[in-house]
Amino acid sequence: MSPARAVLARELALAFRSGGGFGLGVGFYLIVALMVPLGIGPDPSRLAGVAAGTLWLGALLACLLSLDRLFQADWEDGTLDQLALAPLPLEAIVALKALAHWLTTGLPLVIVSPLLGLTLNLPAPAYPWLLASLAAGTPALSLLGAIGAALTVGVRRGGLLLSLLVLPLYLPTLIFGARAVAGAAEAADPRPALLLLAGLTLFTLALSPFAAAAALRRSLG
């Protein structure tokens, strides 16, 4: 097995075993989205108006839920020392861990989102754009989260601090993601927002591994 595949396989195995937290994010997403009609009332037209924003906001919070353990367990048990000494660059390891986080957290959110669109009376033309915008945007949530997780790795109960650091960074993703879906729902052109969202994700992909790896190296000393 190549080093990169070994890192990815280990992350996925840990996520699916007991205590790995697989399914927590998607469960949280389901509950939050299903509570919205209870909170704002069952009026279909009002729900349709907030569906895009609610689905994106829920995805964002669900993603945040599992981020604090992204590097913390490896830091606590000394694995991070070994990863830092491995021939595979720490930047690549960070990117692989973010990918595993997306596969176990972001991707399930994308898959269940049409179901939640139904409960929120999302207009029919918006469904393909909901899937496309979440697929294009949720990787950025994992990648930006990796920076926050790396910065707070040595902080006891750093989860809350992580949220405060990362949520502002999520703003552009939330704005363009929700805009693409809402645009499609209102029969406007959703493509500009979606392209900006995809560009944002690519920018994050280029930046995040280096920023997070630098923060992790600081945390070792």
């Binding site: 070994a6 840990l14 000394g78």
Partner: protein, 212 residues
């Protein structure tokens, strides 16, 4: 060529833990690093592994030991075993072998771990975990081994296996720096680490006379 360290200095939390530390090891040397608690043994090993910021010169075989050289040449085993309770013994060794390059079977054989290969680490004793952590050092070919109190939690059989492993490593021309309080029959050299200067010498502000 061996390991050449000079002028190594490391400051932790405002305290100078290592100061003008120098060390020369010829090929095939197993150094027993001794010293009282807090003398800086762990810090020295982590500084050599590049895990804590330090200044000074460290060269292995005449080449500066930078990040790339460390990835090829250094194996480090610290106080923490770097194990995850959910994964089995064999899964750990397979992962490290793929990441570091090496043979998982060698790690399994070195510390007699074959009977518990499929056991999750959560069910392993402290000694078995330590054997597994040292198995990681055994499986990948590395020139310089940095071991921090490796015999902690090991039984006599485990300690004997570690000794055999260190002797074989030295016979191949490998180098090892082993911080230990116990006996280490495989050691061919010994170094006593005294705590670096306290008070005025340790604090750069005091040394500069700021408070004098």
């Amino acid at each position: 060529m061996g390991l050449a360290v000079s002028d190594l200095a490391c400051t932790r939390g405002g305290r100078r833990v290592l100061d003008r530390f120098a060390l020369d090891l010829a090929d095939g040397t197993v150094l027993a690093l001794r010293g009282p608690n807090g003398a800086g043994k762990s810090t020295l090993l982590r500084a050599l592994a590049g895990l804590v910021p330090a200044t000074g010169r460290v060269a292995l075989d005449g080449r500066p030991l930078d990040a790339d050289a460390r990835a090829e040449a250094v194996a480090y085993a610290g106080h923490l075993d770097a194990l995850r309770p959910q994964l089995t013994v064999a899964e750990h060794l397979g992962f490290w072998a793929a990441l570091l390059g090496g043979d998982p079977a060698a790690g399994l054989a070195a510390f007699g771990l074959a009977p518990i290969a499929d056991r999750p680490v959560a069910l392993c004793s402290a000694g078995q975990r330590r054997r597994l952590a040292l198995g990681r050092v055994a499986l990948a070919p590395r020139r310089l081994w940095l071991l921090d109190e490796p015999t902690a939690a090991l039984d006599t059989d485990g300690a004997a296996r570690l000794d055999d492993l260190l002797a074989a490593h030295a016979a191949r021309g490998g180098l090892a720096v082993v911080a230990t309080h116990g006996s280490l029959p495989a050691a061919t050299a010994e170094r006593h680490l005294a705590p670096a200067g306290h008070g005025a010498d340790a604090d750069p502000f005091l040394a500069a006379g700021t408070w004098a």
